[in-house]
Symmetry: C2
Subunit: 442 residues, 2 copies
């Protein structure tokens, strides 16, 4: 074992940064045994030097400027926990690589935007750009894709990558409360930001998916190719219907190899209740990978939180201290395939369609006929008068009031579904915008 | 990228070995990109040269003797897929390490018996002894424990490590058939051996647990310290009772840090239906790890099968080709703690106890009194006359015939449970041996 310490500088001392400092201190002995040399935090950078972060910083060199820390000759490895796709984070990472420092980052926005370019810079310099914490928090899916599955061709990857959304959907399912109520509850518990847009509209999931797609399929990171839909429009009724039909609703990021290219999408998804991913409740993350040799592998664990994210950051640092430096995306960045994006209109799968129809004779038949004309096969159909709705008013027990009509289709294309819904709307059969949720089967 | 190939010799050409050869050929391009150099199978060894294995072996050097292959100057890495704790496998692995070859093995019996000794030999020579495939087949739990969780202190690890047992228990639950019937079904499908003892009596799980315990807790491999109980005595009635009480029954390997040392046990276990591990049905494997920084991490995937196991073997080979060589157990073998075994009598946890009692007044009260005297708190109690049993014969509707009385206890020690069951038996309250199943909560 070498006695020469691996010197780490940390930029950004929020909950994750403070936890990295704390754990590197507390676990120093074990980590040194594991890496074959001591790992030592020697310098830090953050905005407010006076703030108490609950962790001892004495003896560490303080930098007001993260770029200066990145360039400092004191460190071997720069840990970037500043955040943001541009600005200080990007400048500091580039400066670290330019001055011969390995980089460990938890910054998904930066990687989703500039990942391959930074990877090329790192590779050219023989340095690491490690980002286990940027994809699913503490869940080691980056290492799994990059190393454990190296023998495999991946055909599909899907996951719950945002704990805030999963918490809200779990709570809506358990308590029957509305999206707005559950969002407020999540905010009160600190699981959602005051401005929750980034999480609930699917952008955070999309950033993470972009990174995982590149790792899984060997393609260039291409966030712009991702179809993104959030969870705002999910109604408690959808969760009840899903339950009756044997599904749960999760916000999934899905990347899939198709005949026309790599399809990347983020949207609320119906998953069979019996699937591993359906069991994942609350703020947890989960990723399922379909791999040709291995089969289906699922990883479930905490996707956020200071200590869990620090665990991922430190596993990267420990690999570097042990001398493990490979190409950031598991193969040379220059060999990543140009992104071959499959357009969403070509997406093919099962659909849950909830129509709000007038409760009149012939409406269900009219809908079914339109589906048949469009070559869309229906797996199940469910019509229920909501509890407490108006009593029936004609001799057939039909009130003419709006009632939900739910259809589960066999595999159909997005274009076919959108087309048939336009026809049904033009027929005057529905009284509200239809709800469409894609189905993902394991 | 280097053009010098990493030369691999494979001993043992069963389904796993043939699959390794096949995948290394098919994925050669991607693997070379990932490892930075080509990986090439150059030599093989097996018993029967004439057998058709469905994979082309032309151009490979054939060795009748695996030890000769292990010593051959033609190879950089020896892949041991022979099996068995002693004999040819052990001799060949020792010979490979003695002659400067890295070793990759899927041999759990060998590692459970000689792991640390072989690790010391590998470390002294600066060589690898890699064994991802030896713990949970294709599920990358070795890499996860050794690398991804390096920042963490593990407090508990438990898993479904034997697909045969999980298949039988899943089938018993789904179909209500007996252990013997489900075992026969598993044998007919090739999921169980003609002599199933090694699987169903828990020894295979114990071998794997011994390896995982050493990795998770940094202790010497100590298979002899493992309490082992198989699944033969599980009755369909237990699965029905479990279901009513909100549990499933799984054969788990559990390793846990306790005040008195590391407790290692393999036994049928009641797990809450809502836990991730309870969802794992059929021949899959799963491992849940409780880690102090990360929290709870669960991995689920195929634990056996030629291609899935080959996936794990090749991930080890690819790491070695990329120059990643660390201590086999994640820290120097010399620093592994002597096994501090916690005796099973000190085990503390919840228990499911199914008594077969005489259906007479006062029996439940007698049992409950004995439990209270022994300071064992009861969480729930369930008495049900089995469907189709004799009709009641006295004015209280009690026939005196044997009926099941099921108790779920709060945390109690194994010694206390065993003690109270002796008292209850001496009281003449039961007509059969009690069934005792430990509970593991997430």
């Amino acid at each position: 074992m070498s006695t020469e310490p691996f010197r780490v500088g940390i930029a950004g001392l929020g909950t994750v940064g403070a936890s990295v400092v704390e754990i590197l201190g507390r676990q120093a002995g074990t980590l040194a045994q594991r890496s074959g040399r001591p790992i030592r935090v020697v310098a830090v950078s953050a905005r407010d030097r006076a703030r108490d972060r609950g962790v001892a910083l004495d003896g560490l060199t303080w930098f007001d400027d993260p770029v200066a820390l990145a360039r400092s000759g004191e460190i071997d490895c720069f840990v970037e926990l500043i955040g943001g796709a541009e600005g200080a984070a990007k400048e500091a990472v580039e400066a670290a690589l330019a001055s011969g420092k390995h980089v460990v980052t938890a910054n998904k926005a930066l990687l989703a935007r500039h990942g391959p370019q930074l990877a090329r810079q790192a590779e050219a310099a023989g340095l690491a750009l490690a980002f286990e914490a940027a994809a699913a928090g503490g869940v080691p899916v980056v290492k799994t894709l990059r190393e454990a599955l190296s023998a495999n061709r991946i055909t599909r990857l899907y996951g719950i990558l945002n704990g805030t959304c999963n918490y809200i959907l779990s709570r809506m399912e358990a308590d029957g409360c509305s999206f707005a109520e559950c969002l407020a509850a999540a905010q009160a518990l600190g699981y959602a930001e005051a401005d929750p847009t980034f999480d609930i509209d699917g952008f955070d999931t999309a950033h993470k998916l972009a990174i995982l797609t590149a790792l899984a399929f060997g393609s260039e990171v291409d966030s712009d190719a991702i179809y993104v839909e959030g969870i705002r429009q999910i109604a408690p009724l959808d969760l009840r219907m899903a339950d009756e039909l044997g599904f749960r609703i999760k916000l999934l990021g899905v990347a899939e190899r198709t005949a026309t290219g790599i399809e990347q999408r983020v949207h609320p998804t119906m998953v069979p209740k019996s699937s591993s991913i359906a069991q994942v409740m609350g703020v947890l993350n989960a990723v399922t990978i379909d791999a040709d040799a291995l089969g289906e592998l699922t990883l479930i664990g905490p996707g956020a939180g200071g200590a869990a994210t620090a665990s991922a950051v430190i596993s990267d640092v420990a690999d570097l201290a042990a001398g493990i430096v490979g190409p950031p995306f598991g193969r040379p960045a220059a060999t990543l395939d140009p992104s071959a994006r499959a357009p969403m209109q070509r997406h093919e799968g099962g659909y849950y369609v909830r129509l709000t129809v007038h409760d009149r004779p012939g409406v269900a038949a009219g809908v079914a006929t339109r589906m048949a004309e469009s070559q869309i096969s229906i797996e199940s159909i469910l019509q229920k008068r909501p509890p407490g709705s108006a009593p029936s008013s004609d001799k057939h027990g039909r009130s003419g009031a709006p009632v939900p009509l739910v259809l589960i289709t066999y595999a159909a294309t997005e274009a076919a579904i959108r087309g048939v819904l336009e026809l049904i709307a033009a027929d005057g059969l529905v009284s509200e915008e239809p709800q469409v949720i894609r189905i993902e089967r394991d």
